[in-house]
Amino acid sequence: MQTLEQPVIATDIREDLVQHREKTLEKLYAKAYPMVLHYVKQQHGSPDDAKDLLQDAIILFYEKVVHQKLTLTAAPTTYLMAVCKNRWRHELEKRNRQQELSPEVGEQLQEESALEAPAFALAAFVDKLGEKCRATLVAFYYLGQQLEQIAQQHQYRNVRSATVQKFKCLERLRKSLQGFSIHHFR
């Protein structure tokens, strides 16, 4: 059950993000980046730090709003700023700790985080499916678009054919991941 006060904002931003992603993200970015940049510069960071911080925060924001149905009790930029500030504090602590460590240990830590890093290793399997499959799977499962919208944007005959294609793409992806799981999970 929705109450009539704040959740309305969240519903609208969800609609906007899913239906008009580019425009909505651009507006959000235009507003938030100068704020994050100002803050990070005051806190010993660079413009690149500000950019990475904000982009991570927006990705998190998108996932929360679209998938977890986050109910916003503040403006989106306020939320983004809070996430950025919080993460920047952690980042500064991490950097300070690494400076205090001996060079060898610091290097070791970096190697470990490099091992965690194949963040996009799995994405490569999706890329290999071809652009239409990739875009369809991402639009449905990640961007949270409706099949009607997907059918229109990606030139499927109708919703039914988009649905079938989506499962066919998933089937191909599942098959191609067999090799990956043998190497990484056994």
Binding site: Y29, I58, A119, L122, V138, L173, R174, L177
Partner: protein, 74 residues
Amino acid sequence: MRPELEEIKLLEAFLGGSLHEEQEQELEIQLLWDQGLQQKVKLQELAYRAVQEAGRKQLRQELQAIHNRLFLRT
């Protein structure tokens, strides 16, 4: 849809927790002895993770493009 695709759809509902109680129990019991099916469930979970990564990657690229458009002075 052909049976293989129907099965993918079924596993999707199972993983998303949207199966009816009876169907869910039936599947859980089958999973106890059916190693082929266990493997399929694992791979399908992995597939969703892959799509999530691909989604993040796309969003990151879109944000980077927005950044360049708005804030990069050439």
